[in-house]
Each structure stands twice: as structure tokens, then as C-alpha cells.
């Protein structure tokens, strides 16, 4: 479904070049939920921007359904970390969700149905007439997720979407993502710096190295499909997996220090 092959991104600054992503190869199968986790400043955002066609890679390629990504593909939706800036404050919630559908040239009834359905499934059926800034942070991110759902993407890219919400809201939103993934069969690529979140959410976790980024390790999360915040997180297997990911991230940090002193890329990523 989604293939990243030998992806490389070098930023040409004034007088200095920064290699943010060195050589990344991994793939996400159709209907899979994969979490990308890596140390701070490891080029996660750069990677996602390249994958979504917002940024042109320096080398390598991204394939969606076998087709090379050169611009934002219609089958892909992006949920940003900064929900407050990603939603348009001059539009009501319903209009925010509807705007991408208008661009698709959809008929009005179809748009209405999709907007209502998407807002319903994130639990905000009665918020369509509100403005985003009248909602709490968690609710705003739900709106952003609804906007992505209504777009009917094959692939959903999420860039640290819950990094800015409080712990309880975050737990609710994690369960929402799990539920939507199971109900809708969307392929989800979820980027986070939170190890627990990666293990709890993902069917597979891809650990990235420090910048310049390569894949440090991939591991399958063999937890049951039914997960809940109370029981899953106290399972011995959960603890093992999170320890494993934690070790890999520590190794990745050490690796970067010995390989590239001065940690290049620190000025590029804003984590």
C-alpha cells in the first residue's frame, strides 16, 4: 500500500547542509496500523512531509498503491499536531470538515452525509455549527480527525497528533484511533515520540534512529486486537515490548552521538 524506498532528504541551508533523513526503507501494508517512533529531532516530521507529497525528497521515492507520490495524493489525509492552526478559525466545524470535499467536486448531499457521518463517529455530531476555537483542545483534534475521515482516505498520516493534549484526553483519543481503524479499515501511519503510545496503538512499531535517520528496528506488536487502557497496559507482554522499544531508542541516541558528533539536524526539526 505505502512503500518508502531509500528516502533521503537534505536541507540546503545558507552555508550549511543538513542531512535530516539518510536512507529510509519500510512499507505499510493495506489496512495496517503502524507507529513510527524515534528520538526527538530524528526527522519524523520531515519523513511524513515527504510521504504526503508536501516536501520533495532529495533521493529515493514514496509509492502509494504502486504510484509515485509527487504531490499531495487524493487518497491520503494528514492530521497535524497543531490542531489549533490546522483548523481554520474563520470556518465553523462543519465547514472545516466539508472544505476538502468541496475541492473534490462532490455533490452537496453526499458532502453533507459524509460530514455528518465523520462528526458522528468522532462523537461531535452536535458541534457542526460551532467554531473550532469554541471547543477544547481534544475536541479540536477530533474535528481534525473527522475532516480526515470525511475525505475517505486509503491512508491516514498522523503527525504526533496527541502531543499537545492532556493525558486523559490523550487516552480517549488513542482509543478513538484504534476504533476508527478497526471500523473503517483505513491504513494508518501514526508518528509519535511516546513509546507507550506507540506500543498501545500499533500493530507494528518502526523505530527510527537519530538524525540522519535510518530504520533502527521494526517489531510486531503481538498484543490482542481488543485493547483497553486499563488491561492492555498492565500486561507483561506490553511491558516487554515497551522495554524493547525503549532500549532501541536509547541505542539509536547513542549511535547518533558516536556516528555524528554535534547532532546535525537539531536546527531543522521542531519537536
Amino acid at each position: 500500500m505505502l512503500d518508502v524506498r531509500g528516502l533521503r532528504k537534505v536541507y540546503e541551508g545558507s552555508g550549511r547542509t543538513v542531512e535530516a533523513v539518510r536512507d529510509l526503507t519500510f512499507s505499510v501494508a493495506a489496512g495496517e496500523l503502524v507507529c513510527l517512533v524515534g528520538p526527538s529531532g530524528c526527522g519524523k516530521t520531515t519523513l511524513l512531509k515527504c510521504m504526503s507529497g508536501l516536501l520533495a525528497p532529495t533521493g529515493g521515492e514514496v509509492l502509494l498503491d504502486g504510484r509515485r507520490v509527487t504531490g499531495p495524493p487524493p487518497g491520503m489525509a494528514f492530521v497535524f499536531q497543531e490542531y489549533g492552526r490546522s483548523l481554520f478559525p474563520w470556518m465553523r466545524v462543519g465547514q472545516n470538515v466539508e472544505l476538502p470535499l468541496k475541492q473534490k467536486g462532490m455533490a452537496k448531499e453526499r458532502r453533507r452525509a459524509l460530514v455528518a457521518d465523520a462528526l458522528e463517529s468522532v462523537g461531535l455530531a452536535d458541534a457542526a455549527k460551532a467554531y473550532p476555537w469554541q471547543l477544547s483542545g481534544g475536541m479540536q483534534q477530533r474535528v481534525a480527525i473527522a475532516r480526515a475521515l470525511a475525505y475517505e482516505p486509503q491512508v491516514l498520516l498522523m503527525d504526533e497528533p496527541f502531543a499537545a493534549v492532556d493525558a486523559q484526553t490523550r487516552a480517549d483519543l488513542e482509543d478513538l484511533v484504534r476504533r476508527l481503524w478497526r471500523e473503517r479499515g483505513i491504513t494508518v501511519l501514526f508518528v509519535t515520540h511516546d513509546i507507550d503510545e506507540a506500543v498501545y496503538l500499533g500493530e507494528r512499531v518502526v523505530v527510527l534512529s537519530a538524525s540522519p535517520t535510518v530504520v533502527q528496528e521494526e517489531l510486531v506488536v503481538d498484543l490482542p486486537v481488543e485493547r483497553d487502557q486499563l488491561n492492555t497496559r498492565v500486561q507483561p507482554r506490553f511491558a516487554e515490548l515497551r522495554t524493547r522499544v525503549y532500549e532501541q531508542i536509547q541505542a539509536a541516541k547513542r549511535g547518533s552521538v558516536s556516528a555524528a558528533p554535534g547532532a546535525p539536524g537539531a536546527g531543522v526539526e521542531k519537536e
Binding site: P72, F78, F88, P89, L99, W133
Partner: protein, 257 residues
């Protein structure tokens, strides 16, 4: 609180008017040059009953409105064009910075040469003064586009035109509104100035006539009218601004969530 402010405002105005009445009556200033408020009010009453006054008011408002409309349209068009076309803004920046500080009144001789005392003379001055106010605000507003909002729009497949309409325009709107409010005030100043100096028909010309014919109270009455006009224009512009920007932080204030 709002009530109190209203009372204080009215009290301040009453004191101001009372001083204006008392100072000439007490002989502190020459009544011939500075008539008491009641005399000015009487002159104002005579003015508003004169059809020629309304014609003059109409002429001034025409110059103001047409000039402002042209300046807004031109400023918007130029501003968006300069921002959207790559390199154009950088290429024109120095020219804009050179032309912008030229006082519009310095163009009065040119206006007289070109158009005499026609409306077009007034328009030239009004448009020149108001255009820059709009243009500069549009340029600032367009720069304010949030990269995340822009990336969101691009990721959902919005093309250039759609992004101008749904992202760039709403972002720039608060700036544009400020520009229009400033331009509206400047346009009034320039239309009255043009009438006063060039003699194009309007309130300014009527003030000049009142002055040369020693009708001092009438002159003051007309000055009061121009002041009221400025006040109304500002209040109107602010009302439009509040309605168009109900979503904006400056208008909506803090929202409890």
C-alpha cells in the same frame, strides 16, 4: 461599566461645549474669530436648511466613496498579485517604499494641471493617499498565513486559487479591514483638502467661500460637519469590521472552554 463610560463621555462633551460657549462670551478670545458654541449651532442650523449645503455634502461624499472604492480595489488587486507572483514583491519593494511616502497633497499641482477643478482631481489625490494604506496592509496580511494552515490546505488538494480564497483571503482580511478603516479616514481628509485648495465643489470649497466672505460661524459649522463625517465613517468601518471578523481573536475575545 459600559453605562458609566457613556455617562462620562457625555459629561466630557458637555464640559467641552460649555467651555466653548463661555470663553468667547467672557472676552478671553475675540468673538469675531472664535464665536461661542450657540452661534456656531445657529449657523449649522442655517446650513442644513440650505439645499446648496446638501449638494456640497453629496459632492464630498461622492469624491470620498468613489476614491476609496478605487483605492480598495486597486490595493487589493496589487497586493495579492505582488504576493502570489514569485519575486514580484522583492522587485517592487524599493519602488513602493519610494512612492509611498510622497504626500498626496504634493500632487495638487499635477491634479490641477490634468483635471482642473473636476471630480477627477479629487479622485487622483484620494486614490493616491488611500491606495498605499490598503496595499501595505494586504502585503502584511498575506505574509501572516500560517504554514500549518497552508500545509493542511495543500495536503487536502486545494489548488492555488482555492488556497487564495479559503486560506490567504481570510488570513489577510483583518489586515485589509484595518487598511480600509485607515484609508477611509485618509480619503476624507484628502477629499476635503482637494476641495479646499483646488476649489473642486464640496464641503471644502464651501469652507473656503465662508472664510473669504467673513462668514466665520458658518465656517466653523462646516468644520463641525466634516468632523461628524469622520466620526460616522470610523464608527461605520468599525461596525463592518466587527461583523466580518466575528471569528477573529481581536473581536471574539477570550472564550471559556
Amino acid at each position: 461599566m459600559k453605562h458609566l463610560n457613556l455617562v462620562l463621555g457625555a459629561a466630557g462633551l458637555a464640559v467641552f461645549l460649555a467651555v466653548g460657549e463661555a470663553v468667547p462670551r467672557l472676552g478671553l478670545v475675540k468673538e469675531a474669530y472664535f464665536p461661542p458654541v450657540s452661534t456656531i449651532a445657529g449657523a449649522l442650523a442655517r446650513e442644513v436648511s440650505d439645499p446648496a449645503f446638501w449638494t456640497a455634502l453629496g459632492d464630498t461624499l461622492t469624491g470620498w466613496a468613489v476614491g476609496l472604492a478605487l483605492a480598495v480595489a486597486g490595493g487589493l488587486l496589487a497586493g495579492v498579485l505582488l504576493s502570489v507572483v514569485p519575486y514580484l514583491r522583492e522587485a517592487t519593494a524599493s519602488t513602493v517604499e519610494f512612492l509611498r511616502p510622497i504626500p498626496s497633497v504634493a500632487l495638487i499641482p499635477l491634479a490641477v494641471l490634468l483635471y482642473g477643478t473636476e471630480l477627477r482631481s479629487v479622485l487622483l489625490l484620494v486614490v493616491y493617499a488611500a491606495f498605499w494604506q490598503i496595499l501595505i496592509q494586504v502585503l502584511y496580511g498575506v505574509q501572516d498565513v500560517d504554514p500549518v494552515a497552508e500545509a493542511t490546505a495543500r495536503s487536502y488538494g486545494l489548488g492555488t486559487l482555492a488556497r487564495v480564497r479559503y486560506v490567504l483571503w481570510p488570513t489577510a482580511l483583518p489586515y485589509v479591514m484595518t487598511g480600509v478603516r485607515l484609508a477611509a479616514a485618509v480619503a476624507l481628509i484628502l477629499s476635503v483638502t482637494a476641495e479646499l485648495v483646488i476649489g473642486a465643489p464640496g464641503l471644502g470649497a464651501r469652507i473656503a467661500v465662508a472664510q473669504t466672505s467673513q462668514a466665520v460661524p458658518e465656517m466653523y459649522a462646516l468644520i463641525v460637519v466634516t468632523g461628524l463625517l469622520g466620526l460616522l465613517i470610523n464608527v461605520g468601518a468599525r461596525t463592518v469590521e466587527r461583523r466580518a471578523l466575528s471569528w477573529h481573536q481581536s473581536v471574539r475575545g477570550e472564550v471559556a472552554v
